[in-house]
Amino acid sequence: MADLKAGAAASRRPRPLSPHLQIYRLTLTMAMSIVHRITGGALYVGTLLMAWWLISAASGPNAYATFEAFIGSFVGRVILFGYTWALLHHMLGGIRHLIWDTLHGFEPAEREWLTLASLIGSIALTLVVWVIGYIALGGPR
């Protein structure tokens, strides 16, 4: 009986918690892990933009013109630029995770290099895509 009471008391004691983000020094891999989740969330919301684009095209010229006016505006371009970067960063981060899933690239130098490459690569690819886009449009307007 004494044992039972002791057990019940022990179960009410607050359980130990594992340390969370604020306990650790911020590292690049940690920051990019957080950014991977944030870009994923942004792309989640961004699918509304894709749905609007496709539905407006299916609805007719007027609806498509409304969408084009929005996406061509300053705010629209900023959102689309952010969407491009989020997509490419999430893609490169995903490739990094696929490499890690094969148990490769875990050495200290390798994982830092991979993480930095995904960050620089995503920014570079975003700029390349937008330069191609502006060339396709015949220069900035």
Binding site: G40, Y44, T47, A51, L54, I55, A57, H97, A136, G138
Partner: protein
Amino acid sequence: MNAPHDMRTPARRVRGLGPARSGTADFWHQRLTGFAGVFLSIALIVIVLSMLGRSHAAAVQILGSPIVAVIMLLFILTSVYHMWIGMQEIILDYVHDDKYKFLSLMLNTFFCVAVGLASAFAILKLSFGV
């Protein structure tokens, strides 16, 4: 669960509760859709670039052509499933209250199904309408 008059040992209480033998399905499907998503995302960027500055008629023709339509449908289905798993993971990480957890899990499913169906319907309408 841990009632004071429960005479069973901790091992007896958890025996038979798991595993469900399907715990890695989401993990695997997230890799599967992610891998496909790499190629489909590049294809999406190429398609969008090819449509910049074009008229509505040209946009309809491009989106409705069989190859582009199939690639777009694959992108939509893959990304909607990928983001459904991803958002579910985020919800399970941060939302601990059962009420809000199940509500947000439901909303996640509704959102992903609605966005996916609307986008896919638009592509099919464009494709069959040409």
